[in-house]
Symmetry: C2
Subunit: 284 residues, 2 copies
């Protein structure tokens, strides 16, 4: 049996970097208050909590002067100011790509553009960006949401980093005919799309695919869907312990893909387990 | 018989304005050298030549110090400089909408954008704009003309004023996914589209349509096509003398539309002729 991991897969650069900064800081100070969950994976949160992470919902929940952590999604200037009123010990895990969107939004606002943010209004990344976008800014998650009055004048557009290009294209098209000037920063980072493409590329070369990631994770579900559409027998698991020994033994070439919030160590555990299954008594 | 003229139809604001400035100047000075044909209509050129217009192809053909006329299409800064070396008596008929495109191109160039001009590279308006667009600028008349190396970096986009929105949309779409920043000035002026829409709106209300305009005029041909597609019996003439009396007498409601280079007086002649046809002995 051969095991091949899709490349790239799992955590994107920004989340990986944020978690690594958090780990380093925890090693130094022992306890950090994280504003919002840094990663949507219960096993990973459990591990980080053991290292000293305390997840809080509001800056007011942080004891004055205690170290605080900003996750990869970033925060608005207002939230940053609230944090700074509680403590001057901030570990900033904001993804550099998200930071770029915030800076572009601030630049467009400063130069007199009315902001349109292509994205999901309920997503923390978008809520952070909104804080930089100024009055009159609006989030558009669907091309049909563009009202006629939103189309006049000088419009500046940025995107949530994980949005689909197809939505960006639709929104731009909806604005184009009615807008005197449209200045677009395509801030989609491509990590999501690259991970989907990696599954598409790997699927024809394997006779079984294991997708590891939360059952409530939309992006993990999308990877499962892509693999099944490619006609490959596909297992969706959250943890190596859910593996089906019979299914594994039938396969000659197994592919592995991981959701964007699946930490590296869960993938490594899975690979070790599969490798042990190569031995005659493995996985019984 | 009732006669209804499509609204708007015929000359657009910019050409009408340029011809009117030329007429005023001819009245004052008697003779003007026009750089390029100010309007693509032989009857109108003949009329203007009688008033003192001399059409030349090159600034070098203008006798030093003699008055010169810039048509609605505008000219590049280089051509303007050549003109100024010949004479300081320039009547500038550049359409204000075209002037706006030139200014936007110059602004984008100054702010470090690589220019893309959506339009027809052989059109005088586009050749003029190119002069403001700087090195590395390119004209795109077809979305398939976007080469991969044209898509990187910071791109500024303007359009020939008479282009179709659908081409602008296609070019923007082709650039969007690969461009960090795309700043679009939608400089399409809408005059062409409004005139086409006016024929669509009028067609269901008439039982015959007369389209007056040059047989070599693409935009006039388009109006004829739209009218015929609407199922209306349609005559394409260059001059009222080509009217078919039998065709006219059969109609109860006649619509009139004119190409973008058909002067007002040719339309008025046509209307007078149709009105005289109402009398029993008209048009025999």
């Amino acid at each position: 049996m051969k095991v091949t991991v899709a490349r790239p897969t799992g955590l994107c650069f920004g989340v990986r970097r944020a978690i690594s900064e958090l780990e380093n800081a925890l090693e130094n100070v022992g306890k950090i208050y994280g504003l919002g969950s840094p990663i949507h994976n219960p096993q990973e949160i459990e591990r980080l909590e053991k290292l000293g992470l305390v997840v809080v919902k509001d800056p007011a929940d942080i004891p004055p002067g205690q170290p605080a952590f900003i996750r990869a999604h970033g925060v608005s200037p207002e939230v940053r100011a609230s944090l700074l009123r509680r403590t001057d010990r901030i570990v900033d895990g904001t993804c550099p790509f998200v930071r770029n969107v915030q800076e572009k939004a601030a630049l467009l606002r400063q130069e007199g553009y009315r902001l349109v943010i292509v994205g999901d209004a309920s997503h923390p990344e978008v809520q952070g960006i909104m804080g930089y976008a100024g009055e009159g800014a609006r989030v558009v998650g669907n091309a049909s949401e563009i009202s006629p009055d939103a189309r006049n004048g000088k419009i500046g557009l940025v995107c949530q980093t994980t949005q689909k290009v197809s939505l960006l294209e639709k929104v731009v098209r909806g604005l184009l005919t009615h807008t005197e000037e449209l200045r677009v920063f395509n801030t989609i980072c491509g990590a999501t799309l690259e991970r989907q493409q990696a599954v598409m590329d790997l699927a024809p070369r394997v006779d079984g695919m294991i997708v590891i990631g939360g059952k409530n994770s939309a992006n993990t579900g999308k990877l499962v869907e892509i693999s099944r559409e490619a006609g490959v027998s596909t297992l969706w698991i959250e943890h190596y312990e859910e593996l089906d020994g019979g299914w594994v033994r039938e396969k000659e070439n197994i592919g592995i893909a991981a959701g964007a919030s699946t930490p590296e160590w869960l993938i490594r555990q899975l690979i070790s387990t599969l490798e042990s299954a190569r031995s005659p008594r493995g996985m019984d």
